[in-house]
Structures are given as C-alpha cells and as structure tokens.
C-alpha cells in the first residue's frame, strides 16, 4: 500500500512543488533583506543617547 502511494506521484505536482520551492525561498530572502535594510535605517535614525550628553 505504501509502495502504491509512493508510485502515485504526479509529475505536474512535482513541477508545482519545484516552482513553489524556488519562489518561496527567494521571497523569504527578499523579505529578510528588506528587514535588514530596515534595521540599518532604524539603528541609524535612533542612535542611543550617550550618558554624558
């Protein structure tokens, strides 16, 4: 039964999975890159005050 299940994979489904995998991974990196830029901007804009100021 397990063998039958494994043999039932659909080529179109695998292509869809490949498509989702690369798009998803890339989108994740882009989102994290935007967050990285955001952190740089925030760190620059809101520098902590020095104690002696």
């Amino acid at each position: 039964m397990m063998k039958l299940f494994i043999m039932s994979f659909n080529k179109d489904m695998v292509m869809d999975a490949l498509n989702i995998a690369w798009k998803g991974f890339l989108a994740l990196f882009i989102a994290m890159f935007i967050i990285f830029l955001l952190i740089l901007v925030l760190n620059h804009a809101f520098k902590p005050r020095k104690k002696n100021e």
Binding site: F5, L28, M32, F36
Partner: protein, 367 residues
Amino acid sequence: MSFLLEGIKNITIDQIVMYVVGIILIFLAIKKKLEPSLLLPMGIGAIIVNIPNSGAIGESGAIEWLFSVGIEASEIMPLLLFIGIGSMLDFGPLLSNPKLIFIGSAAQAGIFLVIILATLLGFDIKDAASIGIIGAADGPTSILVSQKLNSNYIGPITVAAYCYMALVPLIQPFVIKLCTTKKERLMKMEYNPRSISKGTKIIFPIAITIVAGLLAPESVSLVGFLMFGNLIRECGVLDSLSKTASDVLTNLVTLLLGITISFTMVADKFVTWQTLMIMGLGLLAFVFDTVGGIFFVKLINLFSKKKINPMVGAAGISAFPMASRIVHQMGIKEDKTNYLLMHAASANIAGQVASAIAGGVILSLFI
C-alpha cells in the same frame, strides 16, 4: 448489563495502536521531559478521542468543539501563542548584529526541500507544503499553515513538529559535526554589541508588521501577533500585560492547544503509512535546515573578511533558545574560551522571524 461491554466490543486494533501512541507521548513528556507541556496533553487527548463512541468528539464533544472554535474557525489558539512567544523575545542581539538575519532565511531550506520530496513521495501539493512547514521548527506555524491549507495530516504534522523540536539537542549536534571540521568549530568570533535605543526596539515590531503584511498579506496574522507580543514587552508601559502574555497566556493556550490538536489524532486518520512518511520527512526538514544554515555561513565566509563560525548557521532554525544553546555548548566543548552564545542567539531570533515569514510566504503562494 451488556451496555458495559459495548466499548470493549467496539474497540479496533487502530484504536489500540493510538493508546500506545498516547502512552509513548506521555512517557516522552514525563520521563524524557520532551516538550512536556504539549506532548502530555496530546498523549492523553489521543487516548480520549480514540475510546469507542467517545463523548469528547462528535456534535457535542468538548474536544471537537475546542478544535472547531480554537483552530478551524480562526486559528486563534496558535495565534494567541504567538503573542506569548513575542513577549518573550528580545530582538536586541539581532538588532545589534543585523547581518546574521540572512542565516535565519538559509536555515529554512528544509521547508522547501521537503515540499519537493513530499510531492515525489505522492503527497498532494497542499499536504506537501504543510509537511514542509515542519521545517519551520515552530509548532504554532505548523498548525496554522496546515490548517489554512486544509491538510489531511494536521495531527501527524503537529506531532512531528513538536517531537523534533524537543529532539533538537539530539539531531543538531550530530548534523553539525557531520558538516563542519574541528578547525571550523574552533573559529572564534568577536562580540562588540552596539547599544540599541528604546525607539528602535519599539518601532521594529511595528515596521516588521507593516513590511511583512504588505509583502505577504497572509502572514500578517502570524507575524502581526508575534510582533504585538513583542511591542507589549518593549513599550515599557505594559509590564503586567507583558508578564501575563509570556506566562499565564502562554501556559493556558499551550494547555488547551495540546488536547485540542488531539482531535486530529483519531485512529482512522492517524494510523496510516503516510504518518510514518511524515515523521521521516519532518526529520529530514530539520536536518536540511541545519545543513542549509551551516553551508550558507561557509558561503558567506568565502567573501567576508570577518569570518563567522559555521556552527552559528545551525542556530538559524526557529527552535529558541535551544538551537543557540547547543551551538554555544559545542563551541565551549571544543575550546573553553569560544563563546558563541550571543551570535547564535542573533541567528536564532532571525530564525524565529524567518519561520513566521516563511509560513506567510507559503500561504501567499497558495491562497
């Protein structure tokens, strides 16, 4: 008096298997202390829902009601847990060392590789995506994504996600040793933390909610609730709410979440070959995540002057703070002066954010 024997007469082999599964989960929770707050309620729940003619499921069953209200209707239970998690997170180490944020993305590689593997094994694409999200190493994300994608395997996916999160201290050291040389593990990193202003800590969760929401609208409840919890923590005027969220709310939701999820552990849905395959794929997701993080750091090191210890890459998974502790302990084991905790914590927090966004990205690609 024959009604007393009704239950015994109606019991099936599959239900007996589920009692064994329930007892194993309770054993792992109590004896091995593996995620006891979740595995114990799931274990007892697995027994309750598999009693023949169980009153806990069905139209007036309490566990079915909890599932339909708390998870099926709005996924409110995992989302409430996200408020608690957010209120426990300190983004300080990540904000002071932002370049480590990319490690969090690379250490989600397991999610995407397992989606492909699962379709190769014959799973439907939505089920495959739900199985892949085990690699987010984040229980609430796994529950939420698999529920939103209407997966048929929420039960096994949740069990796999929480079991492997608990087994991170066994899985990761083995994979890290396999992927790194002794010289790499001995690599020391300087730690010069930049002080972060309160303004940055307050604006960060708000900005992330807006950015993540605009990029992947489906993720806004996931990321938004996480950041809401963090905002309560950082704002400085809601200390008692922050304490309640990180303590009482988290405990209460966790208590109910475990027993609620057990609704999906009814024998005829759980005792299948697919469950075994999901357990195997879940393990692979965790392994690929760790490998992805380590090799991404090795790749960065080829182009960077300041080298990062490749073990820090393994901390990019979402299992917080376990993954960072493991990396730190492995560093200390190699050399007593090799402190990696703060670098690993930065990567680990990046993994928390990345896993929630990865869940949202997957939902956006489907819905």
